[in-house]
Symmetry: C2
Subunit: 206 residues, 2 copies
DNA sequence: GTCTATATGATGATAGAC
DNA sequence: GTCTATCATCATATAGAC
């Protein structure tokens, strides 16, 4: 989604640098596949320096998901998003996932955490559930209005379709990692084909 | 490599017991979240005993995926499957995923390994790719014939739809883990609604 | 051939220096 | 307030006993 808090010009503080790197490692390798040592080495500090900012790895993980939730709430309230028509809002969502693909095929946060979910701290689990719920509710509303205006097409309830679409998107990024970008484009292309009435494939972004 | 002598009635040998337990842990906690210690404790042996059967964790992981690939090849050749109509073959596939849900909400092997994919040994990666490719090819053929006979409905190419459907199924099991069974049923119910022409939801299995 | 005692290094975390 | 030296524990893996 959007970028961190800093005025976008100053170098990020240590805490933010840790979060950014941890996020990269989480989305590229998985939560149980990176350690404070990895973070420390890359940042040029000692592992214990990270324990100062995030006493335990659980704290770090929870902070990561909490930040992502804050970003979601900010994103869906942006005027440049809320001003759009439903079909364009859906496009904006797809663009977010396309963007993950361009960043070393990062999976989304849900896709990174779902498999290891039971090994995660309770606070992290709760934040992730909230994130999913709010994103699904947002998309369900977009789909409902989009179908009403004739911009989008689908059968069934908007909530069910929203849940399914988000599942496809998260899964498509995982498939891209295991196979290649083209697999992602095949899956998302199929999604576009089904959702837009006048086959307006628009190809895939970028 | 294959199962030794045991006539499928005797208690499984140690190697098989290790594989079975490792599979459970993989599908319930993730590959990087279980250790030889976990396996050993549960099996009542020392960690090094497992190193005898599987010298490294890489070997164990590769054996796991290789076994699953052998199972797939056996499954799709079963007469009781090949004798079915396409729509019923698709039902049989859905039943496999429904079955995962009933086993402590295990994710499928792809869903368990995708996020951590880059941390996996090369042999394991290769086996998983082959597994996905063969399963997708099988489903694409089922979908193609099913549409030709009018049993199933979808737009786009059978291969694209097969890739998308498998992504939805893998993702739905992940969603079930993070939320609950009902989320899985919502996603798969939506899939049924879309694939079967005369809305023949048949609800969800079991 | 099968498994136990043991080594080596990484991991998450603490107590204390600056 | 911020970070470094150090720790206890757990990880994977080897060498050797039975």
């Amino acid at each position: 989604m959007t970028k961190p808090t800093a005025p976008a010009v100053l170098p990020p503080d240590t805490r933010t640098r840790i979060l950014d790197l941890a996020e990269t490692l989480l989305l590229e390798r998985g939560f149980n596949a990176f350690s404070y040592q990895h973070l420390a080495r890359e940042l040029g500090v000692k592992p214990a320096a990270i324990h100062y900012h995030f006493p335990s790895k659980d704290d770090l993980g929870t902070a990561l998901v909490a930040r992502q939730l804050r970003r979601l709430r900010k994103w869906r309230a942006l005027p440049r998003l809320t001003d759009l028509q439903p079909a364009q809002q859906l496009e904006a969502l797809l663009a977010v996932y396309d963007n993950h693909l361009g960043h070393d095929r990062r999976v989304c946060q849900f896709g990174a955490l779902a498999a290891d979910f039971r090994t995660l701290p309770a606070a992290m689990q709760a934040e992730l559930r909230t994130f999913n719920r709010e994103l699904t509710e947002w998309l369900a509303e977009v789909l409902a209005v989009g179908r009403a205006t004739g911009e989008l097409r689908f059968v069934g309830s908007p909530t069910a379709k929203a849940t399914q679409v988000l599942t496809v998107l998260a899964g498509a990024l995982q498939v891209a990692r295991v196979h290649d970008d083209s697999a992602y484009h095949v899956i998302v292309g199929q999604l576009r084909l089904e959702l837009w009435p006048e086959s307006k494939p628009r190809a895939t972004a970028r």
